[in-house]
Structure formats: C-alpha cells, structure tokens
Subunit: 343 residues, 2 copies
C-alpha cells in the first residue's frame, strides 16, 4: 500500500504554475476531413492509416468492431494538467469550503497552508499531506453526495489561466479523434490516474464517454443502510491506483480486452502503451507532447520549463516512443487549434 | 481480508449432490412472443409491463436507453449452480490435471481428498482448504495462460447430471430475457461472485454479454516484463469479492450507474436487488427460485432437500421479496422449458 501512496502523491504533486497568454489561430476546416483541427503530418496520417487498415473488412489487419477498444489517459491527454491536476484544484477548493466546519485546520498542516494559499508548503507536505487533503475532500460522504459535490464544482470552477470551466478545456483535436474512432466502430475508454468518481459526472457531456467506459483510481466504499435506504459510503482508504503498471491492470480488470489503440502524455501512460503494442495485431500508440507554451504549456523534453513537475514526459519516454514507433503528437505542429474556443 | 475469505468460502462450499432425471416438456412458441419459454403468469407479465413502462417515450416512467442497465447474477440465475459451482468443478479438475507436477499433494489436504474424490473431506477443509484449491488452480500463471486453460476446460468439461458442456446449460428463459432486454435498448451485465476471468472467456458466446460487461470477483495481478514482452501475472491473493454487499460496490466501481433491473437467486444477491430497488424510478427485481427438482434442482424454502448448501435462497430472502414486491420466478411454474435442449 505504501508504494501506492507514493504513486498517488506523484499524481497529485503537479503544483507548477502556468504562464503566457493564449493565441487562437483560426482553423480552416475541410468538409470531408474527420480531423479538421489536425495539421497534415505524420501524426494525423498515422491515425488515418491505422483506422483504414483495421476497418478494411477484406484486409490482413481487419479487427472486428467488438475488439476495437481505444483507451485514453485524461489529464494532459484530453485536457490540460497544468498548472495543476484538475482534481487537485477540486480538493483545494473543497478544503476552503469545508474550513468553517474544521476550525482545527487553521493550525494544522497541510490544511493551514491551503487556507493561506501557500502552495509551496502544500507541495512540501509530501505524500502524507496530499493524501490527507484528498481524503478530507473525497471521503466521508456517500457516493451520491460526492457526485453532487463534483457536479456543482464543475459547474462553477474556472481554470486559472484560461478563465473557462474545466469542462470547456477538452482538446478539440482529441474530441475529433474520439468521435472519428467511434464513427469507425471503436469503443472509447478513459483510463486515468484520476478518481473514477471524480471523472464520471462529466465524461459523457465533455467527451461523449459514458460512465461505464471510465477506468480510474478508486477508494474503498462500504454498503450501509441509513434510515432504511442503502448507501455506498466513501471511506478514507485507497483501493486501486490506476497509473503506470496500474493502467494495464485496470484495463484487464474493468474491460477484459486489450486495447488496439492507446493515447497518453506522460510516464504514467507508458505501461498502457506497452501493453497495447504487445497485442499481436495492428495497434496505434500515441503520446500528446506538450511543446506549445504559447497556446497551452510546454514541458518534458525540449521544454523551456525546468521539468520539476510530476506527470512528466521524460526523455526515457521519448526514447521509447522513437524506438517503438509510437506516434508523438506535437501540440505545436500537429494541432491547428487546441481548444474549441480557439477560432 | 479475513471476512472476505469467509465469503469466498461460502461461495464455493456448495458441494451438495444432484438427483432425479430431467423431463423435457415441449415448448409451444408463439411468433410474436419475446419470451416463448415463459408460461403466462405474474413473473412474465411483470417483465413485459416493466419493459413497456420504461421504454414508453411519452410515459411517466420512461428511462433513456443509456440508463437501461440490467444486471444478472450468473450461478443459479443464468445457469445451474448445482451440484457445485461450475468454477469449483474447474478447480477440482485443474488439481487432478496438475497433480503429476505436485507429488506432495498425495499426502497434503485438501489436495489429497480431491485426488481421491473424497468430497466430504474437501468440504470439511473449510475456507482455508478451499482457498488453497482456488489459488493452486487459478493463480501463478499469466492472464493469457489462464484464459487458454479456462477456454480448453469449457470445451471439454461436462456437467455430471446433464452430461452436456456447461456452456449449453444456460437457462433458455433467461437467454430470452437477456435478448428481450437488449432488443429494448438495455445493456445487460453479469454481476457474479464468480471470478471475472473465469467467466469472460464464455459469456459472449453463451449469453451474448461481452467481456467488458462482466463484473465479478478478482485476484491481484501484477504487470511484468518477460523476455521483453509485458504480461499480467495472476497472484495468489484475493483482490475483491463480488458477493453480497460486494455486488453494489462492484456495480458502482465497474459500471458507475445504478441498474434499473437486477436478477439473482440467492442471499448473495440481496444487496444488489436492494440497491437497484432504491434507485428512485421504475425498477424490476427478480429472483430465480429453484423449486423444480425434476427438471433441475429444488432448494431454498419449500425444498425437499435439506438446505445445507451455501448460495442459499433463505426464508429471509423470500420474506424480503414478498415485502418489497420483488418478482419470484418459479422455475417449475413460470418456465415452459429450462434448457435449450428441453424440446
């Protein structure tokens, strides 16, 4: 379990700060193009070629529709993970909101630092501190209450840089990719290190992905009768961390089929891509590379930012992508626009 | 964890013996009837009425297709669980097959008893013994190897009474119900105490339910590189027991939506039915009642068999069904035929 804690902390420790202003270049859309927000290039062509091959009923690489499983990481792959993971922003907001009921937080770290907006001390509280924040904000209520809290939060919270609801920050090229794959008989899944019950309230509306196609990290729940009504209570105990090796494990447990396409953006996605690549038939592995500090963020190899954040795209991952023929999707070069509102 | 062990043991301890011969009554099928193997009566009418109400687009109880989730227990609900759970039969066969590589089993219980066909001693070995059998037969190999072993076993194993492959023993009326629900926009799921990777290799062919719609018990898996290829290894450690309170928990974790219809046959399904009933809108809860010792088995209330087996339909469950308006499906009265080969 201790090992899992360090992984969850890694997931959450992305408290780097954003910078620079967005420049929205207009998108010249062709009516026939299923991926109008993608520039012509290797990435786009690899996707089109792959879909053509696996859907060619007479071809050697045909895959029956039932086996066309595509998995997508969420944070950094389908929407931004900077300046911090959306779920961490939620946890911090929740701590602020719950503070009146917790006077002791004024003098107890890491809550004190959160209430004072002292992100350095929050980050310095390490795994233990972050886990305390997560549990204080995510556990101790029923699943129904948590869903309502998350839904309310998504309706009101705004991204600090883009000043938009997080639910409007899905990457437009990835929305087109999801839709293109579904139009070609694929079943699209999210496989994220994020909490499954934090994502499910918004995935259908934002990505067209229903709750039953969301795989993520979980905390323990218990079944209880309260005034004659059954409830599932969220307990302050981690159950499963859907990151790194947890991703193929989660895919196998929840889906029971191996994907033929998988997309990620960080070292936490490497095993999911390896697992997908090892399926034996045609497969497509893609990595969203954040190299556009102007329109979004730049991190990982070739970044102007020191790579101190977690959820990193390491040089080792870039090397693995090159060696293995995984498609590196440059946000700067491959995407005409990043957000739907970039027009 | 200890509590979970007692639940898995309960699941597996059904080593009662079957009796009596099957009598196949011919089915008089109407072309328009979606449930031709069901006799007219309360059970059939309740199903037809429920489906009519939730699919009536203008009606007060309409449920959008995306929310039409129906969950089914497997053993005893979709196919027989007597004289023992199919998965236990598999475990016992595996122990026989693996015995040459385990000379120590000749003198070690409960393996010795299995090899000697002494089922009383196997049962007397209790939770600990049964867990040893499960782990010896289900763990220590990759998920791919386990799938191949299970697939081979289903191709050759025969039910001791019906002398047919287990995969031909799906209850015909339940197959019609699954198909009828799917034809009306429902997504059908298995939610079983059985091992998820034991069921997935056969659910599509037998029930038309794809692997990603199978929720069940799991053991831990680990992700490893073997000769440069990633594998998921099955470890001898329980992860999740999908029985009793585990069923709503598993439903919430895997599916993330509450069912509007749920079917079971034992005390292990009670919480799933309670959870379904508490959804707030229209819902249908059904219990398959094994009261047909001639064509299948009779157990639970009003049984001629002493109710010593586990996986029981207790009098308390029957009382809950009556109080709550759950549909009790009498195999004897409600089903024209039980198996597809009953003609």
């Amino acid at each position: 379990m201790r090992k899992s804690y360090s992984r969850v902390a890694a997931l959450w420790l992305a408290v780097a700060l954003g910078c620079a202003a967005p420049t929205p270049p207009p998108a010249a859309e062709s009516t026939a193009d299923p991926l109008p927000s993608w520039n012509d290039g290797t990435a786009k062509q690899s996707i089109l070629d792959f879909v053509a091959r696996v859907t060619d009923a007479g071809g050697p690489e045909f895959v029956p529709p039932a086996e066309r499983i595509a998995t997508f990481d969420n944070d950094g792959t389908l929407w931004p993970s900077h300046p911090m993971y959306t779920q961490l922003a939620f946890a911090l907001d929740r701590v602020q909101e719950m503070a009146p009921q917790h006077p002791e937080w004024k003098t107890t770290e890491p809550f004190k630092a959160v209430l004072e907006g002292d992100m350095k001390t929050v980050a310095a509280s390490g795994e233990k501190g972050l886990l305390e924040l997560v549990m204080a904000s995510h556990a101790g209520m029923s699943t129904a209450d948590f869903e309502a809290i998350v839904t309310d939060w998504f309706a009101t919270a705004r991204h600090p840089r883009f000043k938009k609801p997080y639910t409007e920050l899905a990457y437009q090229p990835m929305l087109e990719l999801l839709e293109y794959l579904r139009a070609n008989g694929f079943k699209t899944y999210i496989v994220s290190g994020g909490g499954v019950e934090f994502m499910r309230p918004m995935t259908e509306a934002v990505y067209g992905i229903p709750p039953e196609q969301v795989v993520g990290s979980t905390i323990k729940t218990t079944y209880e009768m309260q005034n004659g009504e059954p409830v599932l209570m969220r307990e302050a105990e981690l159950d499963f961390i859907d990151d790194k090796t947890g991703k193929p494990i989660g895919i196998n447990t929840f889906i029971g089929r191996r994907p033929i396409a998988a997309f990620g953006n960080s070292d936490g996605d490497r095993e999911m891509l390896e697992w997908t690549a090892a399926g034996g038939g045609a497969s497509l592995m893609g990595l969203v590379f954040h190299d556009d500090g102007e329109r979004e963020y730049a991190y990982g190899p070739a970044s102007e930012l020191p790579d101190t954040h977690v959820g990193a795209f390491s040089q080792a991952l870039m090397d693995a992508a090159t060696t293995s023929g995984w498609v590196v999707i440059s946000m700067k070069k491959d995407w005409k626009r990043i957000f739907a509102f970039d027009e």
